[in-house]
């Protein structure tokens, strides 16, 4: 009886390699876990399994040909990746794009945000054991991909924005199809909410899980829904408006507690707000050209620029360094939201259980394509 009670019950620590091939690490994330039973003592994310050297590739490509590479960063939200790069380039070159181009960009970006959030909801719900929402959200996501396909021919890797505008005008009848879809969307979102929002088990699994306070979130540099879920009203579309976001009316939903449930509610509301933006853009879509006057071969002026957009997962920034008359970036650094958001993972799961890890990975909404680049 000389041993203190705590050591008597102390279990053996178990190391568990969670991933990179695991159904719920959303790609090839690997988390080294130190477990005491099911309790997580420590978690260490290990990344790099999807590294393709995108930033290095940028240095070898003329500016317009960098855009297809951005498609492959956050591969479920190609339009906003394109947007980030072209917004930064236009800032560097001092190009103003025609209003019609800006509105088309906004429509595409908001549709992309909805589709990305639908995919997030599908995978997040499956991670927590609810398999049915997956099929419902994919039904709606399919229609967005169809819209993309009829606009630019691609469904996933869109490559749909150019420095100085967008490559094509909207095809005939596109706005009608899109507006029909946007009118139906809120009813579909309500349908997902009947399955999840009030569900006791869903609440039990998400409320109080992966809590991060507003101050901590800012210190970690979190952006996007993980930041807004903690009650910080920060959205690049509002604070540094790009394209024509200052002309449309929308709200930034925020949460109170910074837990998984709040982030879920924030994203659900964001989908509705995105639908609202698309509706306004469709109503006010101006006439005119869709491309600014841009030289055939784009030559940079010397300088460096940081341009960022609000991607579905958070602030997506491009830091571009160019030399005088260069046709390709000297250096292009990407600030991917998932990469920065993932940093908070160990803090959010320490002391909790393995199922919570899955919930937190899901709620951070990471895409390994942009983490590893």
């Amino acid at each position: 009886m000389s041993e203190p009670l705590e050591t008597l019950f102390e279990g053996e620590e178990m190391e568990l390699s969670f991933g990179p091939q695991h159904p719920s690490t959303h790609g090839v994330l690997r988390v080294m876990l130190k477990l005491d039973g099911e309790k997580i003592l420590d978690a260490k994310p290990i990344i790099g399994y999807l590294h393709r050297g995108t930033e290095k590739l940028f240095e070898k490509e003329p500016f317009p040909q960098c855009i297809p590479h951005t498609d492959r960063l956050d591969y479920v939200a190609a339009a906003t990746n394109n947007q980030g790069f072209v917004v930064a380039m236009e800032k560097l070159l001092g190009i103003t794009i025609p209003p019609r181009a800006a509105y088309i960009r906004m429509i595409l970006a908001e549709l992309q945000r909805i589709s990305s959030h639908l995919l997030w909801l599908a995978t997040h719900a499956i991670d927590l054991g609810a398999i049915t929402p997956f099929f419902y959200t994919f039904r709606e996501r399919e229609e967005i991909l169809d819209l993309f396909e009829s606009y630019c021919g691609a469904r996933l890797t869109l490559n749909t924005m150019k420095i100085g505008g967008v490559p094509f005008d909207l095809p005939d009848g596109w706005t009608a199809t899109c507006s029909d879809y946007i009118n139906r969307l809120p009813a579909h979102i309500a349908e997902y909410e009947t399955l999840l929002t009030g569900n006791r088990i869903w609440k039990k699994r998400t409320i109080g899980v992966g809590v991060i306070s507003g101050e901590e979130a800012i210190e970690w540099g979190l952006t996007g829904p993980p930041l807004r879920g903690s009650g910080v009203r920060w959205d690049i579309r509002k604070v540094f408006p790009y394209d024509r976001y200052n002309e449309v009316d929308f709200e930034i939903p925020i949460g109170n507690n910074g837990d998984t449930y709040d982030r879920y509610l924030v994203r659900m509301e964001e989908m509705r707000q995105s639908a609202r933006i698309v509706r306004q853009c469709l109503d006010r879509l101006p006439d005119g050209p869709v491309m600014a006057k841009v030289p055939k071969v784009i030559r940079a002026t010397e300088g460096m620029v940081y341009g960022s957009v609000e991607a579905p997962k958070g602030e997506l920034g491009y830091f571009i360094v160019a030399t005088e008359k260069a046709t390709e970036p000297y250096r292009c650094h990407v600030r991917p939201p998932s990469f920065i958001n993932l940093q908070a993972l160990p803090d959010m799961v320490r002391g909790r259980l393995v199922p919570d890890l899955v919930a937190v990975i899901g709620t951070l909404d990471i895409v390994l394509g942009e983490i590893d680049r």
């Binding site: 719920s24 054991g129 609810a130 398999i131 049915t132 088990i201 039990k204 259980l353 199922p355």
Partner: protein, 348 residues
Amino acid sequence: MDQPLYQFIVIPIIKIVVILGVLSLIVAYLTFFERKVLAYMQVRLGPNRVGPRGWLQPIADALKLLVKEDLVPAGAQKFVFMLAPALIIVPAFLVFAVIPFGPATKLFGLLPEAIPPYLTDINIALLFVLGVSSIGIYGIILGGWSSNNKFSLMGALRSGAQMISYEVPMGFAIISVLLMARSLSLVKIVEAQQQGHLWFIFPGLLGFGIYFICGVAETNRNPFDLPEAESELVAGFHTEYSGMKFAFFFLAEYTNMLVVSSLATVLFFGGWLRPFPNVAFLGFLDLVPPFIWFALKVACFIFVYLWFRGTFPRYRFDQLMHVGWKWLIPLSLVNVVLVGLYVLIAKG
């Protein structure tokens, strides 16, 4: 022919063969049923390629699993690893020895004398069911442990804790039925419901609720499917199993669903009896043979299982324990007292 030989060897063997055959087929088609029902709940079509409307899909699945490579992971306890699937499937099938599918029947006049369609009616049938079905958990724990895989081990441990905790309230829920039926024999329990003019669900609603929740937990089905929680533990205790050994785990899960549903039917829903068994003007319902009534009731419970799977997220491990120990056990105790009072007052 020698009478005892006929009675104790030939007839039981025929019954065993028929029950095992029909049961395996039903279990195989249960997977098909599940895939179809889930598919329609999830706005898709489900399997429809093999055979007419996909009706041969279970056969194709079975063939595929039969010819698949049978892997034993390095570092596994080989003997235990091989033993575990047998340990889980045998008890699951064994339970059906005592489940009464219907009353003694002449099979529409085909037989000279009435023969009960179930294998045997022993006077401790209910204890037999509880005892035998708890052996299945050894299969899960040993299978998970012997795989030499940390995910399997965690799945096995979860399942051990889960099954033990949920067996307690389940036992109490069953006690409430015993109070009303005053017998452990499943046939007697059904007959008591006929004599009582009422299925036991009406006095035993709470008991049934507890029983069915525990039943879902015992069979590791959603929302209590933690031992094999795909998104957390890859495939839980059967992560390392492939081919026919995996099929055994799979079949056992579905057989156990049938066990829980059959027991629920027998204990609370009057077994093979038609609704309102003694109301004369509903006599036309007797045109439906008793075992069809039984099958229909079981099918309803199976559907509820699938409905759960299509609807609910999954509990977390500690929440599962919380529900079991802090809610179901006290509730089931209260239920025993309430039903006891009812029996005392109603039957003197």
